[in-house]
């Protein structure tokens, strides 16, 4: 699988602050790659370097196989970029903006006439295309920001916090949109601090903190880096000693404890064994009303990796 983004030793300083510190990042083609980190981790700075808005102080950057130089715009022909809370010129109408940006990509009149209405329709702004952007709500501007990022049928779409500022319905729509464009063979690289968002749509993740990549890989690969125990937490009706005994007999169970109606099962494995545990509870006469596997969520992994990093820094 070829790489669409490759950075090596990427460094960016703002006076005494090191925003990005020796970052090695690879994004494979045809993936949805999440760039995860807390606020101020260096995500936006990295993205801005990738699209030529900021100049790196050190390291190398290659995007779509081309070395990134300062003010060399041709590499951006195949990149779509949506900034965080995109600020679009309010004096233009939605349709005019897409038309002008299309001209900047060198799209012919015919291409613009096809693509602009299609994208406005896709982002739900078909009826508002002739309105001034100044009259758009924040969510509508966000959706227009998405449309302009997809205008040139890019090979790579870079999205900075794409669902920030959106209502829950808007968030779901944007996520569906990202999945759709990925299906069409576009590589999506998105920054987010919303763990569940990344977990829902990304195939690959890089976690960054204080400008340093903490972990990178598929979700499973990253989860494997966490060595802590996995726990199943189940709400069980008719919870009895027979149920507990049945669960304890399972070979991958380390320990079982009860807290009212709640059954806590500590596991020796990191595999998802919820169905086996559920069967054992049923065999003991219990009825499962809810069940969660704790320790597999990206949030747990994220917090664990960040804590580990903090410990490492503190011990220096």
């Amino acid at each position: 699988m070829s790489l669409v983004i490759e950075t090596s030793g990427l460094t960016k300083r703002y006076e005494s602050l090191i925003a990005v510190n020796n970052l090695d990042l690879t994004v494979k083609r045809d993936t949805i790659h999440g760039f995860l980190g807390p606020n101020g981790a260096g995500k936006t700075t990295t993205l801005k370097i990738l699209v030529g808005l900021l100049k790196a102080d050190g390291g190398s950057v290659s995007v779509l196989g081309q070395e990134l130089g300062w003010d060399k715009p041709d590499v951006r022909l195949k990149i779509g970029f949506m900034p965080e809370l995109p600020k679009l010129p309010k004096h233009l109408k939605g349709r005019e903006l897409l038309d002008i940006y299309g001209r900047m990509y060198g799209m012919t009149k015919e291409e613009r006439n096809n693509q602009v209405p299609k994208l406005l329709d896709m982002v739900g702004l078909k009826e508002r295309g002739n309105d001034f952007i100044g009259k758009y709500s924040k969510g509508m501007q966000q959706r227009l920001g998405m449309a302009q990022a997809l205008l040139s049928e890019p090979e790579l779409v870079i999205l900075d916090e794409p669902s920030i500022g959106l209502d829950p319905v808007g968030m779901v729509e944007v996520r569906e949109m990202m999945k759709e464009i990925a299906k069409e063979g576009v590589t999506v690289f998105l920054s987010s601090h919303l763990l569940h968002e990344v977990q829902q749509i990304c195939t690959h993740v890089t976690i960054i903190n204080k400008g340093v990549a903490v972990a990178s890989g598929t979700l499973k690969e990253i989860s494997a880096k966490v060595k802590g125990p996995m726990t199943i937490e189940a709400e069980v009706d008719k919870l009895s000693k027979a149920v507990i005994k049945k669960v304890e007999e399972l070979p991958f169970v380390k320990d079982v404890s009860q807290d009212g109606k709640k059954l806590l099962v500590e596991l020796k494995t990191r595999d998802d064994v919820r169905s086996q545990v559920s069967q054992a509870i049923a065999a003991g006469g219990g009825i499962v009303t809810s069940m969660n596997l704790k320790g597999e969520s990206l949030e747990d992994v994220f917090m664990h990796l960040l804590a580990k990093r903090e410990e490492k820094e503190a011990s220096k």
């Binding site: 703002y14 801005k48 699209v51 030529g52 808005l53 900021l54 100049k55 003010d71 060399k72 715009p73 041709d74 590499v75 951006r76 022909l77 990149i79 970029f81 900034p83 995109p86 600020k87 679009l88 010129p89 309010k90 004096h91 233009l92 005019e96 002008i100 940006y101 001209r103 900047m104 990509y105 060198g106 799209m107 012919t108 291409e111 693509q115 920001g145 302009q148 040139s152 049928e153």
Partner: protein, 314 residues
């Protein structure tokens, strides 16, 4: 999408289009145009108004259009420059619209030149409109006009004069990324050079310095001696390129004479002028054009350099 790379002219025209939409939709620009139109109308109607209130009857004046430099003067150039470009770069930074714009496959040089060209087109259209209006109005009010073929020189001079201020406004806007500073900085320079500077120049006799500074420049006197014995007052700076060019075409042998006021000899009802030196009008015209071009190139060059290297932290 087509696989061929777009030519620089395609991208350049896209930026011009982007900027023109902004220029013609700016409320302050529309307001300025209305004010300029109203003032031009007032200049044309002034004698009629005076006549209505018992003033002298209107006499035919075949030199009205050329004599008034088609109605455009120093502060108008400055104001048009401010209104046209005070937001051109700074507001892109202030509003954050610079981020999606520079993320497009267009070089910063093309963005910069496209914006500058859009300002040129906006001013060209505005000045053409005002000058045509003034020429027709002059014909209607004061009868047939002489030397109307020289009106394009006024247009050329007006563009030269405005573009110096445009380069200064752009420089402030690019350096400070603030529309307010882009307007106030040049305003300070305008006041400094045109008002305070002129006063100091006349009183201290060092007005020649203002030949090399944008604006009104040094004050001199041309033509036949006037009743005061000094001729007709003219400004020799970059704001007067148009009128001086026309004067030179009409009177190529004219000289400009400079004076100072001897403060120590001031007596009631008497201004003690002292003649300093004279130079051909051709020198004045050439110097002011050279000053305009040099300032424009230097200021625009610095703005372009700063813009091209700007880190977009917005």
């Amino acid at each position: 999408m087509s696989e061929s790379r777009p030519s620089w002219i395609t991208k350049f025209l896209a930026v011009v289009r982007y900027e023109m939409f902004w220029n013609i939709r700016k409320k302050k620009f529309i307001g300025m145009l209305i004010v300029a139109f109203a003032l031009t109308t007032l200049v044309l109607a002034l004698d009629h108004i005076a006549n209505f209130f018992g003033g002298p009857p209107i006499e035919p004046n075949p030199d009205f259009v050329i004599g008034t430099n088609v109605g455009l003067g120093g502060f108008a150039f400055f104001l048009f420059a401010i209104v046209t470009v005070m937001n051109t770069i700074s507001a892109e930074f202030e509003s954050g619209t610079i981020v999606p714009l520079l993320a497009k496959p267009v070089s910063r040089t093309i963005v910069f030149l496209g914006k500058l060209f859009a300002a040129f087109l906006t001013l060209l259209a505005t000045y053409c409109f005002l000058m045509i209006y003034m020429a027709i109005g002059g014909f209607v009010v004061y009868g047939p006009q002489n030397n109307l073929h020289l009106v394009p020189l006024s247009l050329l001079g007006a563009l030269f004069s405005t573009f110096i201020w445009i380069s200064i406004v752009l420089l402030f806007g690019t350096l400070f990324r603030s529309s307010l500073i882009a307007a106030l900085g040049p305003l300070g320079i305008w006041f400094g050079t045109n008002i305070i500077g002129s006063i100091i120049g006349v009183l201290a006799g060092q007005g020649w310095i203002f030949t090399y500074i944008p604006g009104t420049g040094n004050s001199g006197y041309i033509g036949e001696p006037s009743p005061t014995g000094m001729g007709v007052a003219v400004a020799t700076g970059t704001d007067s390129i148009g009128s001086n060019l026309i004067n030179y075409i009409l009177h190529p042998s004219w000289e400009v004479t400079y004076y100072k006021i001897n403060i120590g000899e001031i007596a009631p009802g008497q201004i003690p002028w002292e003649k300093l030196y004279s130079e051909p009008l051709s020198n004045v015209v050439l110097t002011s054009i050279a000053v305009a071009v040099i300032y424009f190139i230097v200021f625009i060059g610095i703005s372009w350099y700063v813009f091209r290297r700007a880190q977009i932290t917005e």
